[in-house]
């Protein structure tokens, strides 16, 4: 019997999807599968951390699979930290358990919060939080009862989620956003301004174009106040830093056989790293697709796809990664958001059909199209109602012109019964992007 050993570092969605894919092809006799993680005993949904914080779910509810599934699928779970890789000998070293030998290895270690050396952050031994891991959640929960005012820095999705959680617990929140509107990486200025209004309507003290300058601490080392670049001093007991994430690969740099690492762990389109039999997937990788810039995707959907396709390549298939047309969705307080294709930083000659509602400010649709290419639609940004992104991306892939899409927009609606957004009531205008 020649049993292969597949070792997967990281029990996030990329790692677990890979493990499940491998098991669906190879029986226990053929393959042993081990998943190692330092963060939690079982795979949990990172995207749902906020619901645990807001008590709409309990910790165990975050686990996407019943616990017995892993026994049933013969996937061994190991709670440990991997500290070294020796690709010549096909071994990995662990912090507490004995070294392990692999046939194929997958690095799916995800991402961790980006570190910014704010002034005073070294002195702050307590009160500074991130919102990415289970331990971050524990940390936030420990601090919440002794916090009456918190400051959250960073105008992205994790920032607004943390703000919402703190508001739920009755904490007064100041939300510092460097840009002039909320989340310009995905929203136009007008859309971002509307969401900024929404955030303010929930009694959040939103400060746009204002940055964290300095952190002040009390005698115990707990955050007591911050100063912004506009010299505003704000008293606070908790400081949430949500300024983005970076690949969790620093530990690999000092490995016996370090793989190529740039901004993230380098993999080719088959998810192969520079080391033989070592693969990478999820938030921790940058993929070389032969384009100018390697691709770094840090969302749930991409990590899931990476895991599945990396597993096929670990099994010996040659499946190249071809990312589908971009789509994503989110929720800002109670306003839902769906996007597809390209909607920001599009070429100057493109335009948007901007649809607004006379009385519902958070119900908007923006359809980006290219007048130089027969009005071909290239992106959708939809706020305040539900859309089937499958149909939206299909229209983009079919290169449908604006007139075609405009007539059929209702076909892509996905609202609840009796609750379809009234598209006829929308007012339209064409926006230039230059």
């Amino acid at each position: 019997m020649n049993q292969e050993h597949f070792i997967i570092i990281g029990n996030g969605v990329a790692g677990i999807e890979a493990a499940m894919t491998i098991r669906s092809r190879l029986s226990v006799e053929d393959a042993k599968i081990t998943v190692i993680s330092k963060e939690s005993d079982f795979f949990f949904s990172r995207t749902a951390l906020m619901y645990a914080y807001m008590n709409t779910m309990q910790r165990e509810d975050l686990e996407p699979y019943e616990r017995h599934v892993y026994t049933q699928q013969h996937i061994t779970l190991l709670r440990d930290t991997v500290t070294d890789i020796d690709a010549h000998n096909h071994t990995i070293t662990l912090e507490t358990s004995a070294p392990l030998t692999y046939t194929k290895l997958l690095i799916a270690t995800g991402a961790h919060p980006r570190h910014v050396p704010f002034e005073g952050i070294e002195q702050a031994t307590d009160g500074v939080v991130n919102f990415v891991s289970m331990q971050d959640l524990d940390h936030c929960e420990r601090l919440t009862p002794s916090t009456s005012h918190a400051v959250v820095v960073g105008g992205g999705l994790i920032g607004i989620e943390l703000v919402e959680c703190l508001m739920y617990h009755g904490v007064k929140v100041t939300f510092l956003v460097r840009e002039s509107s909320y989340w310009p990486q995905a929203l136009s200025h007008e859309e971002g301004s509307r969401i900024a209004d929404l955030i303010r309507s929930h009694h959040v003290n939103l400060l746009l174009e204002e940055e964290l300058q300095q952190i002040h601490t009390d005698q115990q080392g707990r955050v007591s106040a911050i100063t912004t670049n506009k010299n505003q001093k704000i008293d606070t007991q908790m400081l949430g830093i949500c300024v983005g994430v970076t690949s969790n690969t620093s530990w690999l740099k000092s490995a016996t056989t370090p793989p190529d690492i740039q901004r993230a762990l380098c993999v080719d389109k088959f998810f192969q790293t520079s080391l033989p039999d070592v693969f990478g997937a999820g938030d921790c990788v940058q993929i070389d697709l032969g384009m100018e810039q390697p691709l770094i995707e840090t969302i749930w959907y991409s990590a899931k796809r990476h895991g599945q396709i990396a597993a096929l390549n670990m099994l010996g298939d040659q499946v190249a990664y071809a990312p589908p047309t971009f789509f994503n969705s989110s929720k800002f307080f109670d306003v839902e958001y769906t996007t597809a294709g390209q909607v920001v930083n599009t070429p100057a000659h493109t335009k948007s059909l901007w649809r607004t509602h006379p009385s519902q400010p958070y119900l908007t649709q923006r359809i980006v199209f290219d007048p130089t290419q027969k009005d071909q639609v290239i992106g959708f940004n939809m706020l305040g109602s539900r859309w089937n992104h499958r149909i939206l991306t299909q229209w983009i892939e079919q290169r449908r012109p604006l007139s075609y899409v405009r007539k059929r927009l209702h076909q892509a609606q996905f609202d609840v019964e009796f609750g379809r957004a009234k598209l006829k009531a929308m007012q339209e205008e064409i926006l230039n992007h230059d």
């Binding site: 047309t325 390209q342 539900r386």
Partner: protein
Amino acid sequence: MIKQGTLNRLKHDITHRGPSAWALFILLLAFYFLLYFPDKFEEGARVFGASKSTIASMKSLGNDLNIFEHFMRWLGPALGFELKKWWDPVFNKWTLYGTIYTLAITIGGALVIRRYKHNPYQIVRTSVVMLVQIIFGFSLPILLGANGYKDYYFSYFWPLKIEYLYPENLANMPIFLVLYGIIGAMLVVPILGAFFGKRWYCSWVCGCGGLANTFGEPWRQLSNKSSAAWRMEKFTIHSMIIIAFLTTGLVIANYLVGDHSPALQKSALIIKFLYGVFGVALLSGAVGVAFYPIKGTRVWCRYFCPMAGILGLVQKFGRYRITVKKDMCISCGMCSKYCEMGIDVRAYAQKNQSFTRASCVGCGICAEVCPRGVLKLENKVDPDPQELSMNAFLSESYKQEPHRRAV
């Protein structure tokens, strides 16, 4: 994490199986015992052929325990209503129960509407449930009773109200009620079920479901999501269908030939009694409602209701479905957590699988709580309104360069 403050902690405690939830459970259990069981002592003794003296002592025991009945008989005169007038039949314990029940649905329903005020499906559905209860579940039966008729609930059908097809009851009903009951149970309920799924009944009309979706709303998340619970559900619910058919069949057979066969007569009486005690009083009443704070709101509906069993079979082959938007699920688990039928909705959603589960009552809460709008309740055969053209295949090669990061 629980919100600070005593009131918030209590709210968490009572909705998460804390001591206060257990206290409420015991209280509700006692209530249902005193409501249903006093009538059963004497009947049981008779059915099982006990001696005269036993029957008499059972009767007096039942009478002593029948405190809600005594309360109502006291209440009438206390309010100035002389008994033995036309309103006399109104002053019984079932009116008391109906009043409490209707209040629970009305107040709970108003709170549910407030909670989901942005979701028209929930507003329409809850309003219908409240109206059906106020009109067909409460006012009409009382009016009928006061006017000397046997009370009749137009919103219930066989086999949920199993006695509605017992021949000895049919024999005493006006012909239009007989037709209403038979056509309703045999044709209308299943046909509507084939078109709209069981939801048209279980979360729009039925009073049991109505109470669960209004008063019971705070406990809906307690349903058991494990696959073991699903296996048990399939066993119990199908057994109950068989039991309901057997019971009805035996009662009808006895009506037709009973006089010639004392053995049949005796077993019909016994099974009718047992179904009344275990099926109706114990399971649909005591277990059905008292278990809210411990096991979630739909224990009776999920594991035992014979009507749900039949409608579930119809639903499996009908048009109703929950459509899953492909690839958009973030596996957060809100849908599974808040499904009152214990369906692991996330298991389907994260596999991109649209589905119809026999037990789904179509309450629509999974779609409501999903933060990514992945789920949609539909009655359509074809899930995708978009024609798939040759163009779509040809243009597969056209792919955008993904260019931005979300977080």
